[in-house]
């Protein structure tokens, strides 16, 4: 079995919108995968299935051998400790400082303060924000906030990092910095990264595996792929 397997998943929301229709994909350990597609193509939903924010109506999702689609509500939090999630809107706790935000997951698991300190500083160093650890989120720029979010995602040394349009709110220059951070995490830590995006430049420059989704189905899966405008446009037609 592969590290991540999505087998023939269907997701129909309560309002009748079909987000996924028979979507399947497999991802190996250590891969860096782009998930592209137009708005409402289903890529966010696919990510949500992977971190169990949503359950598929049909089909199965396996992450690291765990059948996520069958995970009971009470056990979801334990599963989430093994993955890191980076969001487009950062989702930082507004009243906590940078350090506290990154430390929060570890603290809530009950780790020792001394161990937490080491892990947090290491994570902050990796994203290049060590000197701003006492700032509050609102005192940071968008790119810095996103780096805090990445630090929080990697602080627990997860094997899988899910990114939902992490550069969606950032300018091209900052986006490039963020992608450099993510790529180094992929290379140095060996973490599998799945990133949903519609940033054409990033996808074309990085030359990673690209999975294209249209109308809730995987329509194209290419190693060292590029942002294929044709496929996406066709999906709209």
């Amino acid at each position: 079995m592969e590290f991540i397997e999505v087998n023939n998943c269907y997701k129909i929301y309560k309002n009748g919108v079909t987000a996924l229709a028979d979507a399947s994909l497999k991802v190996n350990k250590g891969e860096f995968v782009f998930l592209i597609g137009s708005t409402a193509s289903g890529k966010s939903t696919l990510l949500k299935l992977l971190y169990r924010e949503e359950k598929p109506n049909k089909g199965e999702v396996y992450v690291g051998g765990v059948n996520v689609s069958k995970l009971r509500d009470g056990k979801v939090y334990k599963f989430r400790r093994k993955i890191g999630i980076v969001f487009q809107d950062f989702k930082l706790l507004p009243k906590l400082t940078v350090y506290e935000n990154v430390a929060y997951p570890l603290e809530s698991y009950g780790m020792k303060s001394s161990e937490i300190k080491g892990s947090v500083l290491k994570a902050l160093e990796r994203v290049g924000l060590k000197d701003k650890y006492r700032s509050f989120p609102h005192e940071l720029s968008g790119g810095e906030q996103q780096r805090v979010c990445i630090a929080r995602a990697i602080v627990n040394e997860p094997k899988l990092i899910l990114c939902d349009e992490p550069t969606g709110n950032l300018d091209p220059e900052t986006s490039k910095e963020i992608m450099d951070v993510l790529e180094s995490i992929n290379k140095d830590l060996g973490a599998t990264i799945i990133m949903a995006t519609h940033d054409k430049e990033i996808v074309n420059r990085m030359k990673k595996r690209v999975i294209t989704i249209k109308d809730g189905v995987v329509v194209r899966d290419k190693k060292k792929g590029s942002y294929d405008n044709e496929t996406i446009k066709n999906s709209k037609a």
């Binding site: 939090y77 334990k78 989430r80 989702k91 997951p105 009950g110 020792k112 303060s113």
Partner: protein, 301 residues
């Protein structure tokens, strides 16, 4: 150890959150302060009303008149019969002989004394009486009837109609006071839980983030519970101070009575501490409960 660390961090986080969300904390605390002051006032008032009615009721006496020709033995047997009536306060059975009454009246009124002094020994027309108190004032009518049934008791007096009306009125006042206090407590609980709910509603995003980074529901809930508890305690401080110092000041400046000696206030030391305790418990429990309720709403995985 792990649990201890989590609890310790929850307490630390709850303090942090109170200070960093100052305006929200302030809103909850002021709501708590105002409503709890009302509760404190109503509790103190109802204590005083109950105390006053109890006192008046206790001072009611029943007088049983004994036939003038009753011998000493007969009077003793009457006393025994009286003691056998359940509702009679056994410690407060006072016998007044006619000579004693004569002396008392004489001491109060010189004119009457001069008249009474003309009476010869054995000519005293006054009657021997028993001055009695009842335990349960509501049964005074039945008690009077059984007193009257005792041999050689000629007359039983207790201010019938006035007393009965007063008992009814007092009963109503006490009931109204209790209902008011309970209603006020319920309203307070409702107001405080709602204020706290609103403050947490504005933080539902935070709860969602905590869930996304893998925090268990109980660990998410804990600091919110402590926070609600602390806000409740903080909100009780002013009402408690007002109860203790305010009521003591009021009592002393009034000299312990209202208007005249007729209405005595309850001594502060007898009620302020229990009232403060009630206020503290309401504040903290309601705060914690409201907080827990609100968080639970946003904890659906």
């Amino acid at each position: 150890m792990r649990l201890l660390r989590i609890v310790k961090r929850s307490i630390r986080d709850s303090f942090k959150s109170i200070f960093r969300n100052f305006s929200l904390s302030f809103a909850s605390v002021s709501c708590t302060v105002i409503t709890l002051i009302l509760v404190a006032l109503s509790i103190v008032a109802s204590y005083n009303v109950t105390n006053m009615t109890d006192k008046i009721e206790k001072e009611l006496t029943v007088i049983a008149f004994v036939e003038s020709d009753a011998t000493k033995e007969e009077i003793n047997s009457i006393r025994k019969d009286i003691e056998n009536i359940d509702n009679i306060d056994k410690k407060n059975i006072v016998f007044r002989s006619k000579d004693e009454i004569k002396k008392n009246i004489g001491a109060e009124n010189a004119e009457l004394k001069s008249i009474m002094d003309t009476w010869d020994e054995g000519e005293n027309p006054l009657q021997n009486t028993f001055v009695l108190r009842v335990l349960d004032i509501k049964k005074i009518k039945e008690t009077a009837a059984s007193l009257k049934n005792i041999k050689k008791v000629t007359l039983v007096k207790y201010g019938e109609t006035m007393v009965e009306r007063m008992i009814n009125v007092f009963d109503l006042i006490k009931k109204v006071a209790i209902v008011l206090v309970v209603a006020l407590i319920l309203v307070t609980a409702f107001l405080i839980t709602n204020t706290i709910k609103i403050t947490i509603f504005s933080r539902r995003n935070e709860i969602n983030i905590m869930r996304l980074v893998g925090t268990s529901n109980s660990v998410i809930r804990m600091p919110f519970l402590f926070e609600g508890f602390l806000l409740g305690i903080i909100g009780s401080i002013i009402p408690v101070c007002l109860t203790i110092f305010g009521y003591t000041y009021f009592y002393e400046s009034m000299g312990g009575v209202i208007f005249s000696n007729l209405v005595e206030l309850v001594e502060p030391s007898k009620i302020v501490y229990i009232t403060s305790l009630i206020i503290l418990v309401i504040g903290s429990v309601v705060g914690m409960f409201g907080s827990g309720q609100a968080v639970r709403k946003y904890l659906k995985v």
